[in-house]
Amino acid sequence: MRRILAAIIAILIFIVLAMAFAKVPFGDVNLEDYHYYNPITNETTQDSVPNHYLVEGKNDTGATNIVTAVVVDYRGFDTLGEVTVLFLASTGVGALMYVEEKKKRKVKKANAVVETGSKLLFGFIILFGAYIFVHGHLTPGGGFPGGAVIASSFLLLYLAYPKFHAEHKKLNISESLAGLTFVIVGLLGLIIAGYFLYNFLPFGLPTYLFSAGVIPIIYTAIGIKVGSELTGIIDAMMGVRE
């Protein structure tokens, strides 16, 4: 009875949403038509919003990856909010999953293939993750998938060795220092030029590694912070094992 009622409600919601999305065009759009209309002063600008980011992005920030320029330079304050949300989630999981010492679990020893494979692959996976967040302004990727790949390498070590534990003190130190770097770079921008997170280093030539001002520094800090937090979440949910 409950399933039939739920299925009818679901099909009704699907029909209403499909009728709403029937008028939205797919693929045949021209990006120069989306002008910004200001309802207060009742005027329309001559510049369209996506075209402005695509045309002016390389000169304003010096990065060739436009999504990186939008996430770190044009909308950098929202990235600071997101890093705060991840920090709150990691603290909450660590506080809720606290277990005393006497409730241990027995874990079987892993395969021989997994053990020897993890010894070879651990360094390479961390190198690949570091490559992704250092080259964030030139190639696709950035800080968030780089940190997730580093956390995946620690997950491999947890699965291969039953007695492995990442130390909490070192994870806390690295996470706090990386977060502090992000805020200090923003405050330096405030001191030098009057805006929080202003891009104050020289831009350089495009498609070079040392270019785009503060963007590589911010993405390195975000990559280390996200990697430490996701490793902390995995360590807390794994529980205490003997």
Binding site: N65, P140, F144, P145, A148, A151, L155, I234, G239
Partner: protein, 82 residues
Amino acid sequence: MDLFTIVSIILIVIMIVSAIIAAELKDLISAAVALGVMSLIVSILFFMLQAPDVAITEASIGAALSMAIIIFAIKATKRWEK
């Protein structure tokens, strides 16, 4: 019907079938594996829509870490849904 449309339709049908399988199984670990398969196919669809940043992020976070967290939570509670 060019090649882009045909491959998109096949992948979208496999994705919807995986989501329905994840809804209806009684074994929770098999439902978590079906969720991982669905995340992987969504990552391929993101790449076909010309968004490589989002594809890398969804593949590493949705298909690897999200599935691992669900399986750790299932091992601390019951495995079979009643």
